[in-house]
């Protein structure tokens, strides 16, 4: 294994002596667990804010459950609105976590080791958030279990030909596999926590969750193989999940949905938005937890390049779907043509152009190396990208439904405060989990970083 002394102990360390790796590992543990230990007042303020948002979301949902789905703005013809937008948005956020932890692992991209713990945590929490939305979207949420194939009294089964049922399988598999993958990577680090933590309660809890890991050769041997296989299984899984989500739309007959490019288009978009979210989370975290010596600017630059690449793929998809509609033209397919003209110039043009500005124009600035390596710029840029990707889903879902075939059935959809409240609540829910994670679990994968130094 090669040495990485450039960004490890700084340039003022001339040579690696015999104890270099040993000392580095000890220092790494110390630094990472220093970040995990004591919550600052700022942490409590952030946690309370997040919990406050959860409260707003829960109240909004309660109002909707008591009064019925009419409290939300969704109504014929736009039956899928902000809730389904939020669902696709959060599933998308999850994807870059798996990209970083599984796909980049298979490609042996070393920089992934800086981000994979946080990115995987983000994946798990984002899927947990996304999973709420199909439930919130249900008129009678207490019947949610009808989605699962269980033998009922009427001997009826779910319709496995429906993309919505595929989605149940895809998303629940994704959540399960992400949790297993994340937990496996955690086990050796929890064993370190068990050794380092002082308090008896912490020692006991970390001890239980570490499964009694001792780090014997046999354990590592099976662990390595398991990790490799989970990465190899998670890679096709992540590509399939957003493909299935896209088929929720593409299998329908509505123009603006019914196209074959949807699966790759959605996967690229998911990774694009997820990378932006990793940057949104990691830039402040690196600063607050003093992890500068472990996460270099170079590592962020690689993420920025990934953002550039997926941004270009997304831009290409926008061009393709628009170009196809214009190519067949009004004579060829009036519905598709009109749908896209409506997107460009209709009632929701503001949302369409917001999306173009955020997702197509703003990532182009990353071609400038100076900007790509400026963390503050990256952080600032990541926020419009998140917003732009939310609008992408909004445009696809809402605009297509607002104007489909019959002019008598055209409509306009305005989200209500209930829907905005629940959306805010979903951010609070996500950040609550994330904040609790950042103070209980090592935010850097300690064992993987140790492996690098040998």
């Amino acid at each position: 294994m090669s040495s990485h002394s450039t960004n490890v102990l700084g340039s003022n360390v001339p040579e690696r002596d015999e104890l270099y790796a040993y000392n580095y590992k000890a220092k790494l543990e110390e630094d990472v667990f220093a970040a995990v230990s004591k919550p600052t007042p700022l942490f409590y303020i952030a946690l309370l804010t997040a919990l406050g948002c959860v409260g707003i979301g829960a109240t909004s949902w309660a109002i909707q459950i008591i009064n019925g789905l009419g409290k939300a703005g969704i109504m014929n013809p736009v039956g899928w609105g902000v809730y389904i937008t939020d669902f696709v948005f959060w599933v998308g956020i999850a994807h870059s976590g798996t990209l970083i932890s599984a796909i980049l692992f298979l490609f042996r991209a070393k920089f992934r080791n800086r981000f994979n713990r946080t990115a995987e945590a983000m994946t798990v929490f984002a899927v947990l958030t996304a999973g709420l939305f199909p439930l919130i979207h249900l008129g009678r949420v207490w019947f949610f279990y009808w989605l699962f194939p269980y033998p009922n009294q009427r001997h009826l089964w779910v319709n496995f030909k429906s993309p919505l049922v595929w989605d149940v399988f895809a998303v629940s598999t994704y959540l399960t596999v992400s949790v297993v993958f994340w937990y496996i990577g955690l086990v050796p680090d929890l064993a370190i926590a068990r050794r380092i933590k002082e308090s008896k309660i912490a020692k006991t809890l970390y001890g239980i969750f570490s499964l009694g890991w001792t780090g014997t050769f046999k354990e590592w041997q099976h662990y390595n193989q398991l990790y490799k296989f989970l990465a190899a299984l998670a890679t096709p899984l992540v590509l399939s999940v957003h493909s299935v989500v896209s088929w929720d739309f593409a299998m329908g007959v509505v123009y603006g949905w019914h196209t074959t490019i949807f699966a790759p288009y959605f996967v690229a978009g998911a990774i694009f938005s997820g990378c932006a979210m990793v940057i949104t989370l990691m830039v402040p975290m690196r600063k607050m937890f003093r992890l500068e010596r472990y996460i270099a600017i170079d590592d962020f630059e690689k993420l920025a390049k990934l953002l550039m690449l997926t941004g270009l793929i997304v831009s290409y998809a926008y061009i393709v779907e628009l170009a196809l509609a214009l190519y067949v033209g009004k004579e060829g397919n009036v519905f598709e043509y009109e749908q896209f003209m409506y997107r460009l110039t209709g009632d929701y043009a503001w949302a369409y152009w917001t999306m173009i500005l955020c997702n197509v124009i703003s990532p182009l600035t990353l071609f400038v190396r100076k900007l790509r390596r400026n963390l503050i710029y990256l952080f600032v840029l990541s926020i419009p990208i998140n917003i732009g990707m939310w609008f992408e889903r909004f445009n696809i879902i809402v605009i297509s439904l607002a104007r489909d075939f019959d002019p008598y059935a055209f409509g306009y959809y305005t989200p209500t405060w209930i829907e905005w409240g629940i959306t805010l609540g979903s951010f609070g829910w996500f950040f609550t989990f994330f904040l609790l994670f950042s103070k209980t679990i090592p935010v850097l994968p300690v064992t993987e970083l140790k492996e690098e130094v040998d």
Partner: protein, 143 residues
Amino acid sequence: MEFRFTNREQFMEKLENILESGMSPDNMKIVMPNPDHEIEHLVEHYKSPSKLKYFTLVGGLTGCLTGYAFTAWTAIDWQLVTGGKPFFSWPAYTVIAFELTILFGALASFAGLLILGKLPRFSKMLNPENYANEYVIIIEDED
């Protein structure tokens, strides 16, 4: 006998000597602070690689079969034409079979680690040996 090292190279040298002298890796306990592919290759000269892959294979195949069998059975158990498609619409059921391949494959692999690695090890949960970041070789006495 117990050997402890703070330096990885010295540890590997010692380990290689012991293994060359004919001692089987099964008769000793090696503790490492992190996974290490070089050490793994070294030891796997004398010891077969992990059998965890068979768990993955069996799990994945079971998942795939379950996916097709279950969807086909439910369609035939109560015959109801939906979307004008045949009862056994294998292209649609492939999505379910694919997801279950991965789900069962991943869960079986995880079970593989627990079974092969003999985890969870309750005795070590609360009272682990404290080797910190040292490399350790423990040879159990033959007599």
